[in-house]
């Protein structure tokens, strides 16, 4: 059905169709609309979930953990400081192998009180064992949320999934949304280690130095296995609903000499920059990274890569750039742009490509010249 929706409402719409037994959440700008919408669905009876209006994000994730371990579907949403506040529990959720789905509306971190888009919040969760997908349209926010449940709950995965959408740039804009009848696309949840009072077990008790690494290894193995589950889920989604998604979204990459790699809305706007560059005779392409965990194998051989990081790891560099260099062993032109919602246009993106200096780092708005 053709609708118009914000990114936030698209996420809520997907959640409504997946009917989690428990949604526990705490409001934060710019995520608020997601939880308001879900609360409204619940109070109107459209959504048969229990909505727990917790007193903090730490408790939001703890409540999702407590609910999830009983074997039911759970959802939460947050942003920025909220995500950081629940950091202890995000690690717990992954280690406890609970398929919690969370929307994170990417926003910068204080101080100052900046509420605009930045990816550093989610990237600080990079090493927790969560799967992470970054979306670029309202439609994709909806589709990715649906797929997130199927991927998280798949018994080869059983890890939480975070769906990331750019604060305001995507969370608050209105775009067309085509909702689907999810049907049996996401099978009923079956958590093999759900609490059973008839078969009492202790969860996460004391473990020794000769044991803990096994659980870590299993998370890693499951993340590796998740690649096939994600592929299958995305392929099935395309067959069933007609919209195709991959680990990356490649645009004019085939014959490109230079490729922009970015995430989220900048990754989408980069396509417009590519159109401009192509008109100028520059063989450019763009590769929008959708999945950060598992980190996909990127086909960038023989291409110059311009990486746009809307994030930063202080003392090291753009996080995406660092990840890409680690995989490709090639120099990139690392552009730090869009922090705290800094305005970056497709013209700026085209300029980064025109004036690239491989092996260097460039802070947009800081350095005098690109």
């Amino acid at each position: 059905m053709k609708k118009i929706s914000t990114g936030n409402k698209a996420v809520a719409e997907a959640v409504k169709q997946l009917v989690p037994a428990v949604v526990a959440a705490y409001p934060i700008t710019p995520q608020t609309e997601i939880v308001e919408q879900i609360a409204e669905f619940v109070s109107s009876g459209e959504l048969k979930s229990r909505y727990i209006a917790v007193e903090s994000e730490h408790s939001a994730m703890a409540a999702c953990i407590g609910a999830s371990i009983t074997g039911v579907r759970t959802f939460t949403a947050t942003s920025s400081h909220g995500l950081l506040y629940m950091h202890e529990m995000t690690n717990w959720a992954a280690g406890a192998r609970l398929p919690i789905v969370m929307a994170n509306v990417n926003r910068s971190l204080g101080p100052g009180w900046n509420i605009w888009a930045e990816h550093t919040d989610a990237l600080q969760e990079r090493d927790t064992g969560w799967l992470q997908v970054y979306v670029s349209t309202v439609q994709e926010a909806y589709d990715a949320t649906i797929m997130a449940f199927r991927i998280a709950e798949h018994n080869d995965v059983l890890l939480p999934v975070m769906v990331n959408l750019d604060g305001f740039l995507l969370s608050h804009i209105m775009q067309p949304l085509d909702t689907v009848d999810v049907g049996d696309f996401v099978p009923p949840i079956h958590l093999p280690h759900a609490i059973d009072v008839k078969n009492p077990r202790g969860y996460g008790g004391l473990t020794g130095p000769d044991q803990q690494f096994r659980f870590s290894w299993d998370i890693e193995r499951s993340i590796r296995d998740s690649v096939k589950v994600i592929e299958k889920t995305q392929n099935d989604f395309a067959k069933r609903f007609g919209r195709k998604y991959g680990f990356t979204e490649d645009y004019q990459c085939g014959d490109a000499d230079v490729v922009i790699v970015a995430m989220g809305t900048l990754g989408k706007e980069a396509e417009v920059a590519i159109d401009l560059l192509r008109k100028e005779g520059i063989k450019a392409g763009s590769m929008r990274l959708r999945w950060l965990r598992p980190f996909p194998k990127l086909d960038l051989k023989g291409k110059q890569v311009v990486v746009i990081d809307r994030d930063y790891s202080f003392g090291r560099g753009g996080i995406l750039a660092t990840e890409i260099v680690a995989q490709t062993k090639e120099d990139v032109f690392s552009v730090i742009a869009g922090l705290g919602g800094q305005e970056v246009t497709y013209e700026d993106l085209a300029d980064f490509v025109r004036k690239r200096r491989m092996g260097e780092e460039f802070w947009f708005g800081v350095n005098a010249n690109v």
Binding site: I52, S59, G66, A67, G205
Partner: protein, 295 residues
Amino acid sequence: MDTIPEIPKEEYILKCTSACAGCSDSLALRYVLKAAGPDTVLVVPACCTSVIQGIYPNTAFNVPVYNIAFASAAACASGMSNAFRAAGKKTNVIAYAGDGGTLDIGIQAMSGAFERGTDFLYICYDNEAYGNTGMQRSGGTPLGARTTTTPTGKTDNKKDIDAIIAAHDPPYQATACAAYPQDLFKKVAKALTFRGPTFIHILAPCPPGWRYSTEKSVEMGKLAVKSGMWVLYEREYGKLTIGAQSKAAIKKPIPLEDYLAPQGRFKGIDPKTVEILKQRIAKNLAKLTAEEAAS
């Protein structure tokens, strides 16, 4: 005194936990679980109880136990209770936390869960310090008690968590003591008959923490009650009832010194501090007596 026939023989704490010898947390838990029965899940944050279960892949606890990070027992239990109720299950959800996890780091989550009317029982077993990490002061440590972070005695009063809970107006709250297992059993059984959040605050004397010899754990609990330092009561829909043992103590308390003297943590306590403690006890007993009379 005689045996207590109404208490089930079933043990849900199997032989044997890794609790210290003479641990009154273990003693309390035996009766908590006897009262709760097998259709129960314990949610346990970081505390002595997270350790005494034994080491993976074994546990001494014969009910499901969900171990969770320090600050989040009540929040986790809140999610669990909602999930069980959504599935139509009556399973008891008991958050079982120490004084640190209740009065200090867990107070926000607990307050939230009570405010939201979560259908669960929250039990704080209070050994008046961070026992698991080697006895650092907590909000539950009484004035004058030495801990590793109050080496000359705590200069602040014990936080009145029961008053804080009372402010949330739960249908049922009670205090108990590991030295009175029958009383504890009855209170847990009763708490679990209510819908909504209920709270039981158990005084759990700790031999290594309080520095007395292990055989005195029960005796120490009784001295706490007899001196008025710990008061046994129930508050049901706001109506306060002081327990018989505490009523006796109000009429004729034993000297506070009889309770303090056997404990190494009060060794060398300043007489002025003892005086303040006595005044606080008197004030608390008067307050509770007045409340009982009024309700």
